[in-house]
């Protein structure tokens, strides 16, 4: 079952506020923490660098993508799957970059043939990955680097689910919500994450 980001955990994701509706599956202990849980394994495999392509551990990434999609399908009732538009948060590297990683696009595409999954937002330029960047970009910086993929804007969604692997500060969700809200002012937008980052871990 998903957990709603309510007032108990909201303060851990400091760009988010009570008007943001976000849900997560498990919890991911990053970096200096302990890393024994299933969720940690899933996220680490999901985030496996593209430079590992072709190496023996590469298969874990493909498996993690399928697992993430299966988890999401379990969390979402058929009614939601059938009516929502699933939008992956764009990867930090743009198409053409050797580290371009469309894992979240693959995840939402695996949700089902009749599921509306669209790469509605893309990045203008590659950025450092948030979890390796010295200073994490805020929502404004991210927003300025986002653009709407005009070729996918129709039909207008009735409900948007922004999907990402890990909810950290909430900056990406906030930037996505802003740019999508400009295109679709009346469409409710929720965030759905495979996991949230445990507070105090980098």
């Amino acid at each position: 079952m998903l957990t709603q980001l309510d007032a108990l955990y909201l303060p851990h994701h400091w760009y988010l506020d009570a008007a943001d509706e976000c849900y997560f599956g498990g919890e991911y202990t990053a970096g200096q923490g302990y890393t024994y849980s299933e969720t940690n394994q899933l996220i680490l495999n999901l985030k496996k660098k593209m430079e590992r392509r072709g190496l023996p551990d590469w298969g874990y990434k493909a498996r993690a993508i399928r697992q993430a999609a299966m988890n999401l399908r379990e969390y979402l009732r058929p009614q939601f799957l059938a009516s929502a538009t699933f939008v992956p948060i764009p990867p930090s590297k743009v198409v053409g970059d050797p580290e371009y990683d469309d894992r979240m696009t693959q995840v939402v595409q695996l949700l089902g043939e009749n599921v509306d999954a669209r790469e509605l937002v893309c990045q203008i330029e590659s950025t450092l990955e948030a979890h390796t960047a010295e200073t994490r970009p805020g929502p404004r910086t991210l927003y300025n680097n986002y653009q709407i993929e005009e070729s996918c804007i129709t039909p207008t969604p009735s409900q948007i689910a922004v999907v990402d692997d890990v909810l950290t500060t909430g900056a990406h969700f906030k930037a996505m919500k802003r740019i999508l809200g400009e295109t679709y002012p009346d469409v409710p937008i929720v965030g759905i994450f495979i996991a949230r980052r445990v507070p105090g871990t980098e």
Binding site: L8, S37, T39
Partner: protein
């Protein structure tokens, strides 16, 4: 706060579940057994399904305030059927639907053993505890105990001293520590390791210590379910530790009893438990070969 689709997602609100759990416990007739029965009869329901939304909010607000007032800045909860709730807890006879924690939840997924015993140990028992814990830490086990006086305290301290990991499953809510002199150790475990409590904050504050004592044996059952094995260092004939011993066998966990317990002629429990499947431990290897059969003997 939610605008839309809680109904079309399978999702829980942790704060609402916490408030609902506290509201259920606010009724004087509620026990772990009565709650477990409720959820056994309706396995698809959550605490919030039994409590009006305003009532859950009422208790959530009170309990958040109590936690803040007691100096608990950050804590989390685990709810049955939501993310990260450990399946192994369902092996308990009356499994907990919700629990509170502080610290590194991830430690729950490590291989762990409970080291428990009397609150009034002999000097040798304390020494045995430290030695045993050092060996277990050396074999990468997380040491779980109940933060009580005596063996529990020795087990946690030895684990930390040996550079190992430790989990405390306490019989008070997060707002309290017992005994008081363990407040610092509790804080250390909450910051660097993991502190777990199933005890409802509000109910605990409303009843006297005689009734609150009843929470201690309940946490022993949870401690057993959380671990692969329970090791008893020293315990009297009427010790609360024996509650955990019974729970361990019922939950199909391994139970180890140190040899010295058998040598005390006034105790019959070691023999009773041995006849029901407990392992008599003459040397560490007796534990090791059972828990780490794939490892060569030291």
């Amino acid at each position: 706060m939610a605008t839309a689709p809680l109904a079309t997602l399978r999702a829980i609100s942790p704060l609402r579940e916490m408030g609902a759990y506290e509201a259920l416990w606010a009724k004087s007739e509620t026990t772990f057994t009565s709650l477990a029965r409720k959820f056994r009869e309706a396995p698809d329901l959550l605490p919030s399904d039994f409590v009006a939304e305003y009532e859950a909010k009422f208790f959530a607000d009170i309990v958040m305030q109590m936690l803040r007032d007691s100096g608990v800045k950050q804590f989390g909860i685990r709810v049955h059927r939501a993310g990260e709730y450990p399946k192994k807890l369902r092996d308990a006879e009356d499994p907990v639907e919700l629990l509170y924690y502080r610290g590194w939840w991830d430690l729950v997924e490590t291989r762990s053993v409970a080291v428990v015993g009397t609150r009034e140990p002999s000097a040798q028992a304390v020494e045995r505890t430290s030695k045993l814990v050092r060996l277990l830490v050396n074999d990468k086990f997380t040491i779980v105990s109940g933060l009580a006086r005596g063996i529990d305290t020795a087990a946690h301290n030895a684990a930390i001293k040996a550079g190992g990991k430790t989990i405390a499953v306490i019989g008070t809510p997060l707002t309290h520590s017992y005994p008081k002199e363990n407040a610092t150790l509790q804080e250390r475990i909450a910051n660097d390791f993991l502190l777990v409590s199933q005890v409802p904050v509000y109910r605990y504050s409303k009843q006297d210590f005689r009734r609150n004592r009843g929470f201690f044996p309940e946490r022993n059952k949870t401690m057993s379910a959380l671990t692969e094995a329970t090791i008893i260092v020293e315990a009297g004939q009427t010790s609360g530790t024996l509650i955990q011993a019974r729970a361990a066998l019922k939950q199909r966990r391994k139970l180890f009893i140190l040899d010295n317990c058998f040598q005390n002629p006034s105790l019959s429990w070691p023999h009773e438990f041995e006849s029901r499947g407990a392992v008599r431990v003459k040397e560490y290897e007796d534990i090791r070969k059972s828990l780490v059969p794939d490892v060569n003997p030291t």
